[in-house]
Subunit: 144 residues, 2 copies
DNA sequence: TATATACTTGAAAAGCATTATTATTTGAGA
DNA sequence: TCTCAAATAATAATGCTTTTCAAGTATATA
C-alpha cells in the first residue's frame, strides 16, 4: 500500500501544503487503520507512538485539512465525537454504514441501490442531490 | 390540534411523569413548531415567552425524556447542535430528510423505497436492521 | 549565503453544546 | 392540608473542538 501513501503525499504538496513529519504521521496512521473509523483522540494516540511530541490541536487541524481536500471523510455516529475514514478510489463511490448497537462496530456497505429513490426525490421535490449520508442501526452478524 | 397535545400529556402521565408547567410549555412549543426541526436553544427561546423563568437545563432534560419516550426524535444535521421533530402517527413510519446547502432548510421526504436495499443488506451482511437515518444534501427547489 | 516571508506547530486558553450537582420548590396522592 | 418523591433553576463541570499566540521551520528572493 506504499502507492497510496505516496499519492496522498503528492496530493498535499500539489496543493501547496508542506509535508511535515506530523502530517506524514497522521496520514500514515489513517492509512494503517483503514476501515477502523478512528476518532480524533484515537488517531492522536496512534500518531503519538511515532511522533510523541505532537499536539492534539495539530491532529484536529490536519484532519480538517485532509477533509477539506477530500482525502478523508467525516463520519458522525452520534457518539459524541467525529470519526474519519480514508477516501480511496475504491470507496470514492457512495457507501453506507451499518452500526451495531451491541458491539458498536461500523461496517461499510458497498451496495448502493439508491438510484431509483434519488431519481424519485429529485423529480417529486425538485431537489438537486449532491451528497447523501445513510446509516443503518441494528445488530451485526457477530452479535445476533 | 388539541387532541395531539392532550394525547401527549396523557402519555406522560401514564408513564408516571408529572405534567409540570415547564413540560407542558415545551410540548406546546414543539407542537406549534411542527416541521421546523428546532434545536434546543430555539425551543428554549420559544418556551421562554410563555414560561420566562425556565432554565435551559430543564429544556435539555425534558427533550431527553420525550426522546426516551419516543414522543420526539433527534435529528443531527452536523451543524453543531441537536434538532428535534415531533413523532406523530403520520410520520411514525420512516421518513428521510433533504437538507438544502444554500438556505439550510430541512425538507421531510415521505418516499421510503428502502425496502429492497434493506432486504439485500440483511441478507448479504447478516445484519438485523432496526433503524435507519437517511439524509440527502443538495439544493432545494427555492434555491436552484 | 543571508534574509525576508509565509507556513506550521505545541501549549494553553477559549468556545460551545450538553450534562451533572445541589439546594430549593412543587405536584399529586394520602 | 400534609408529606415526600419528583422536578426545577442556577450554576458548575464536562468533553470535544477551535482559536490564539509565541516560537520554530521551510521556502523564495536578493
Amino acid at each position: 500500500m506504499e502507492n497510496l501513501a505516496d499519492s496522498l503525499r503528492e496530493k498535499l504538496k500539489d496543493k501547496g501544503y508542506k509535508l511535515t513529519p506530523q502530517r506524514r504521521a497522521i496520514l500514515d496512521a489513517i492509512i494503517e487503520n483503514q476501515g477502523k473509523h478512528l476518532n480524533t483522540e484515537e488517531i492522536y494516540n496512534v500518531v503519538k507512538e511515532k511522533c510523541p511530541e505532537i499536539g492534539l490541536a495539530t491532529v484536529y487541524r490536519t484532519l480538517q485539512l485532509l477533509d477539506d481536500m477530500s482525502m478523508i471523510s467525516r463520519l458522525n455516529i452520534d457518539d459524541g465525537c467525529m470519526r474519519y475514514e480514508l477516501n480511496t478510489d475504491e470507496n470514492e463511490h457512495q457507501h453506507h454504514h451499518l452500526i451495531c448497537e451491541v458491539c458498536n462496530d461500523i461496517i461499510e456497505v458497498e451496495l448502493d441501490l439508491l438510484g431509483y429513490l434519488e431519481k424519485e426525490i429529485e423529480k417529486k421535490y425538485n431537489f438537486i442531490i449532491k451528497d447523501r449520508k445513510v446509516k443503518f442501526f441494528g445488530v451485526c452478524s457477530k452479535c445476533r
